[in-house]
């Protein structure tokens, strides 16, 4: 195991340093950086699997000269699971990047981009395996900073710089809260090592525990991006290069989920009041619904995907929150189910979100635009990308037989099993959360019907789309790898569930994989066989059989018939792209239904012909939805801060004498106080 760890860390470190050392030949640097990252990621995958199968956690520690800091590493099942998730996506991203970064040749320093890419992967890997609070903070901060530099890769654009600044501020506010969390824990245990944090004898006072939980929730929440701390995601993710967006959205925000689970179930050993779980559940439900609703209104493909990250983080939190609630009431098996659902969705989301961002990156690569209204008809021109994107879209919309379906189904099951809880309040609340999840699912389906339909079907809406070509092979392989992962995790939950069961068993103590896998693993039954069960392989077979039957019918009957090509009936006009359903038009009904939330402003200007008001010369249609949180929550803080800063500016008079006087008065006061 030490060898695998060594291979992974040294691989990333070499990828970090070597591209900076070789001469400035983009092609060499590209292959070197992403090749090394790929090798290291394979090492990471193996390490994750070994860590999950190992009987007891692998531990390693290197002391440092700084007090309280040791470079301690620990690979328990939870860390291994997240390591595996990160490494899988990293591997795909390394392959994909080989092709994708060619579009930056000559514009961006390839050595820097490749080096930062490796540094980013290295810091993420270290975040989940760090076993010392100090060490964790260092790598966490490194991860944030490197991702900031990656976001501003195309810093010559002003909106990219704005997005980067926004992200930097948000992530530092988050880090401040995380620092507070660790300092509170340090105050009680007297050490920064995670071992000391999880000692059962250092039972914190209840008020202190709550403080730790709340600071951790805010601190890690800014990284995870749940409502209302999600505002940076739709700025930062589209601004970054696509393989970086995939990593940020697919895996980086998961490190926050990891840390939250670590704090609640490891540091506190699962001893917390029920309302913690309820808070997590409520945040999850709100994030899921609002995330998908804002996603629907986006026509920038990458912003749309960024908002879907908010939604999916919400779904993950629903699972984990349900697990926390069950755990605090003593239903260990149900708690394990909730956590497994959350973790399953974590790895699923990592895979299909990265896949979708790769798809968006491929479209950007081929058409040079992110605006969906300028796509159209791309399936014919980019069949590989289209097929992979479709698989990703089906997964994120939670349709069988892909992975998103299985994990969302598990979340539903754990929410429905709330009838066992004695508290009436919880009996009511969990089904409401389930209803919100159902709404989320429907809206997500709509959203991806729009995203796929508008982008890939019908006629090209712009010359960019008309001249699009399929992307190079490394990008196709990267996408294909993840698409295969989506299908595999969907069809074979009997392989995935025992792995996650090891994670929950290590934290909660209840192992439920044997109960969950009925009929020799062919069916999935969440704890209670009478309540519900599902068999995804059979479901997949049925779907495949239906499709085959349909195709057979076509082959038998349609195949023999002669085709006749003619103009579509369109009042005698030729069919043009302007007649197609636009992305805006597609979501118009939803916009109307939820106008209370969107607070839309519509502006319609019409210039009429002077001769007659029946004929319009020109029409202008403008439409905005109100970013509610940004307007009411963040803008008021910004206004307050800048007002305060403005008032404090009188201190900075620019006068040398005044500055000297400040120092003088301070000196005399300190001397007098020192007595």
């Amino acid at each position: 195991m030490a060898i695998l760890l060594f291979l992974t860390l040294v691989g990333y470190a070499a990828g970090l340093l070597l591209p900076l050392c070789v001469p400035a030949r983009p092609k060499v640097q590209n292959i070197l950086a992403h090749g090394l990252a790929g090798v290291a990621a394979v090492g990471g995958c193996c390490l994750g699997i070994t860590g999950l199968l190992a009987a007891k956690p692998f531990e390693m520690s290197v002391p440092s000269t700084l007090p309280l800091l040791t470079f301690a590493i620990r690979l328990d099942p939870l860390a291994s699971f997240f390591l595996l998730t990160i490494s899988l996506v990293s591997l795909a991203a390394s392959i994909y990047a080989l092709g994708y970064v060619t579009k930056f040749y000559g514009r961006v320093s390839m050595s820097l981009l490749g080096s930062l890419f490796n540094g980013f992967l290295l810091s993420m890997t270290l975040v989940v395996i760090a076993d010392n609070g100090f060490f964790f903070l260092i790598v966490w901060e490194l991860m944030s900073l490197i991702s900031y530099f990656l976001v501003v890769t195309e810093h010559e654009k002003s909106d990219v710089r704005y997005a980067g600044l926004f992200y930097l501020i948000m992530t530092h506010v988050g880090t401040a809260f995380i620092l507070l969390t660790f300092l509170l824990l340090f105050q009680e245990s007297g050490s920064f090592s995670f071992d000391a944090f999880r000692q059962p004898e250092q039972s914190l006072p209840d008020g202190m525990k709550t403080m730790v939980f709340l600071t951790a929730l805010i601190g890690f929440g800014t990284k995870a991006g749940f409502v209302p701390l999600h505002v940076w995601l739709p700025y930062a993710h589209p601004a970054a290069p696509s393989h970086i967006s995939a990593l940020m959205s697919g895996v980086m925000i998961k490190t926050a989920i990891y840390a939250l689970v670590r704090v609640c179930f490891d540091f506190f050993g699962g001893y917390f009041p029920w309302w913690w779980g309820f808070v997590v559940l409520a945040i999850g439900a709100v994030s899921a619904v609002l995330g998908v609703m804002y996603a629907l209104m986006e026509h920038d493909l990458k912003s749309l995907l960024a908002y879907h990250s908010v939604e999916n983080i919400g779904i993950i939190l629903l699972g984990i929150g349900a697990g926390m609630i069950f755990h605090s009431y003593g239903f260990e098996e149900l708690a394990a189910l909730g956590l497994i659902a959350g973790l399953y969705h974590t790895i699923n989301h990592a895979i299909f979100k990265a896949l979708l961002f790769f798809g968006a990156g491929s479209l950007l690569y081929a058409t040079h635009t992110r605006n969906m209204e300028e796509y159209g008809g791309l399936l014919r021109r980019m069949p590989w990308t289209g097929a992979c994107f479709l698989i990703g879209a089906v997964s994120i919309a939670a349709l069988p037989p892909t992975n998103g379906f299985i994990s969302e189904w598990l979340v539903f099951q754990s929410l429905f099993l709330s009838y066992e809880i004695p508290s009436l309040f919880m009996k009511l609340m969990l089904p409401i959360a389930a209803a919100m999840l159902a709404l989320t699912g429907v809206l997500a389906l709509t959203c991806f019907a729009k995203a796929f339909g508008i982008s890939f079907l019908a006629l090209p809406r712009s010359s960019h789309a008309k001249h699009a070509e399929e992307v190079p092979w490394p990008m196709r392989i990267g996408m294909g790898f993840l698409a295969a992962g989506c299908v595999a995790l969907g069809l074979a939950p009997m392989l995935a569930v025992p792995i996650m069961d090891r994670v929950t068993a290590s934290m909660i103590g209840a192992s439920i994989s044997e109960k969950m896998l009925a009929l020799g693993g062919w069916a999935l039954t969440p704890v209670n066989v009478e309540f519900s069960s599902i068999s995804s392989p059979v479901l997949g077979l049925v779907l495949a059989a239906t499709a085959a039957f349909g195709l057979a019918l076509v082959a038998l009957h349609g195949g023999t018939r002669a085709y006749r090509y003619g103009k579509t009936w369109a009042c005698g006009l030729n069919v043009t792209p302007r007649m197609e359903y636009s992305a805006t038009g597609f979501v118009q009904p939803i916009k109307r239904v939820f106008s209370t939330i969107y607070q839309p402003t519509v502006k319609l200007e019409t210039d009429f012909l002077e001769e007659s008001r029946y004929f319009a010369k020109r029409r202008r249609f403008e439409f905005h939805i109100e970013p509610v949180f940004q307007k009411y929550l963040y803008d008021s803080v910004v206004t307050f801060m800048s007002g305060l800063a403005h008032r404090l500016r009188i201190v900075q008079a620019g006068s040398l004498h005044l500055y000297l006087a400040y120092m003088f008065v301070t000196l005399v006061m300190l001397l007098l106080l020192a007595l």
Partner: protein
């Protein structure tokens, strides 16, 4: 020195450091710039004398070197540089003051009291013959600092800075019979360079604003 009682030795050192403080007040009360420079040279001479006395009474040889350097750098070189600056820029008088002279003198008196008040708890612990000079040294530092704040011409501020440095040197001599020689050499070099840089800066100020009044620097504020 066995023929001289320690009590008398202390008295002599205290007297010469008191002369330092007196020249400080004279600088504060003086409007003419060239006189200020002369007073600074005089003060540095007293400083060299104090250092030489300490060296003589305690037998710490290396303080002689520091005293000699003081004479060379602060009594001869720096005053000459400053005089040159004053002549070239044709500024003879400090015309505008933020705080007028009587008020300045009163404040300086208060600062001396504060300095003695602050060092009160420390002095009984010392066994050195220079222990009372510590309060005077602190008073000189504070007065120098105050002069920097209350004067507007860059030349006066430079003199005030050098006065502060004198105070620090006296403090070092008083508290520990001088710093290690290598440190003292470094400090002298630093002061010399600082004075040269400030001279150049003053010239620049004159070129840019046609005046050496540092309040013009406020215009640089955003």
């Amino acid at each position: 020195m066995s023929w001289l009682s320690p009590h008398i030795a202390t008295q002599i050192v205290d007297f010469s450091s008191a002369m330092l403080l007196l020249t400080c007040f004279a600088i504060v009360a003086q409007r003419r710039l060239s006189a200020c420079v002369d007073l600074f040279a005089l003060q540095s001479l007293f400083l060299a004398m104090t250092a030489a006395l300490v060296a003589f009474f305690t037998g710490t040889r290396h303080i002689y070197i520091a005293a000699a350097l003081t004479v060379v750098v602060k009594v001869i070189v720096i005053p000459r540089v400053l005089k040159g600056v004053i002549e070239r820029l044709n500024v003879t008088r400090e015309l505008v003051m933020r705080i007028n002279i009587p008020a300045s003198l009163l404040i300086c008196g208060a600062l001396v009291m504060i300095a003695f008040f602050i060092t009160q708890p420390i002095i009984p612990f010392g066994h050195l013959l220079t222990r009372d000079s510590l309060a005077i040294a602190l008073a000189i530092v504070l007065i120098g600092f105050f002069t920097m704040i209350s004067r507007q011409k860059a030349v006066t501020q430079l003199i005030a800075f050098l006065v502060m440095e004198n105070g620090l040197f006296l403090g070092a001599t008083a508290a520990t019979y001088g710093m290690p020689l290598i440190v003292e050499l470094g400090v002298f070099f630093d002061v010399l360079v600082a004075a040269l840089i400030a001279g150049i800066y003053t010239n620049r100020l004159q070129d840019a604003f046609d005046s050496v009044d540092t309040t013009h620097l406020t215009e640089l504020k955003e």
